[in-house]
Symmetry: C2
Subunit: 274 residues, 2 copies
């Protein structure tokens, strides 16, 4: 890249920040699409986020903000407008400056998962899906699966309160039958792991892999190791799979799409806050 | 470069910012020296500088700040400590985070000029120098010439008050004879232009080039055009020269030296503010 003072600035905010990979990929994707832009890592503590965002509002060459842990909920509150899915989740992982002032936010983590599944040639629409994990990533994936048109979605999480709360809110959308699930994948077309189970040696598998059949698609959010124990078990049983790295690649593409979207108006049916 | 979340952040602050060239060169120089660092452009208005610096104090991955127009004087005031030359000039063009907290500032614009002269094999020590222009760049160059050991320094500026004020303060250092000069270069070994004269077609030359002799070294701060009318005239008369672009290259090297200096303690005889 040819970085100059005219290069448009975008930042990724998190604390810690050293683990993020997107500065290189997003900056390269900008160049590939003919945009002179940079994604710079910025480590901001929770206690400093408000002051940072107040300054970010006024930085004249800052176009976009990618948001990671622990700022996704606070940044949602700072957005003047947001996509329907960000409103549903109460969180954003990406913001762009609106031509009319303030920031427009979206939450595309779930699009990354669905994008990775589709990149393998598998279409979630009309399928029965089992999701393990109802936390931040799990909630985003659950919503994306419902938006992608799954017929049924079962959600398993040891925290029954957050599981049932998510189920209730998803059912209120009236787009799919959402219910409580278990680690048993029997009868599901698509199985999604949105828990960290498999990142450390000795972790239990998030689902009972012995019951997987070769017609079940298995997706996982874990990027380290590149092939998680669940993905490895699924492949041994002949299942098609998508990995966390593939999810991340699809997510990065969705992020660049969002940041470079035409700036005539905020897209999607955006909510507007005072 | 391989930009990641672990890449250490440095920013160049200015308003406007699109004209600066250093993000690419400094980032490349970091890589050449084995440092995983980035210089990102940030456009901050005068009215927002205080809030920006308050946030910058607390950004955990921000190591250094390069300062350009119009922030050099205000950023000096924000530094906890500064080099003697920055104290003398009341301005900084570069800051690095101190291991003990706060920022250490320096003003290396003048080093760029002297570095470019020396890069041509010319040694200012013991010479008689004429400087045209006593503004921000001129003041920094005047001090750098005195620090480089010129025997005499004559300063010409249409603004007699700022010329005489600078002369008085430089003489108070007791290191060289500093006096008022004129556009006549007769008798000087080294002639320095620190004015914008030559950036626009039809500008008058800053010195009477018809009186230059081939033993006079002529340096200029102008980068656009790459060969300023003064440099062109000097070369036609057989004078050795240094251009604004060569000054900029030396300046960039001095900046990277400063940003990557060992962090055990603030170097130079640093002043410490409350």
């Amino acid at each position: 890249m040819n970085l100059t003072g005219a290069t448009r600035l975008n930042v990724i905010l998190g604390d810690p920040i050293a683990q993020v990979k997107s500065p290189n990929g997003v900056t390269q994707a900008f160049a590939d699409r003919g945009h002179d832009g940079l994604l710079a890592p910025v480590q901001v503590g929770v206690e400093d986020l408000g002051a940072f965002l107040a300054v970010a509002d006024r930085l004249k060459n800052l176009d976009g903000i990618i948001v990671t842990v622990p700022h996704k909920f606070a940044c949602f509150k700072h957005c003047r407008s947001a996509s329907e899915r960000a409103d549903f989740l109460g969180a954003v992982n990406i913001m762009r400056r609106r031509p009319e002032g303030g920031w427009h936010g979206d939450m595309v983590d779930g699009l990354g998962f669905v994008g990775a599944v589709r990149a393998q040639g598998y279409e979630p629409e009309g399928k029965r899906a089992l999701l393990v994990g109802a936390g931040g990533a799990g909630s985003a994936i659950a919503l994306a699966l419902v938006e992608a048109g799954v017929r049924e979605l079962a959600i398993h999480d040891a925290d029954h309160k957050r599981r049932d709360d998510l189920i209730q809110r998803l059912n209120a959308l009236g787009r799919a039958t959402v219910e409580a699930g278990s680690p048993d994948p029997t009868g599901y077309d698509l199985v999604a792991n949105a828990t960290p189970a498999g990142m450390r040696p000795g972790d239990p598998l998030p689902v009972d892999a012995g019951k997987l059949t070769p017609d079940t698609f298995v997706g996982c959010v874990i990027t380290v190791p590149a092939v998680s124990p669940l993905i490895d078990a699924a492949r041994r049983r002949g299942c098609p799979t998508s990995t966390g790295t593939e999810m991340y690649q699809a997510l990065q593409s969705a992020m660049v799409d969002f940041l470079l979207a035409p700036q005539a108006a905020s897209p999607l049916a955006a909510s507007e806050r005072a």
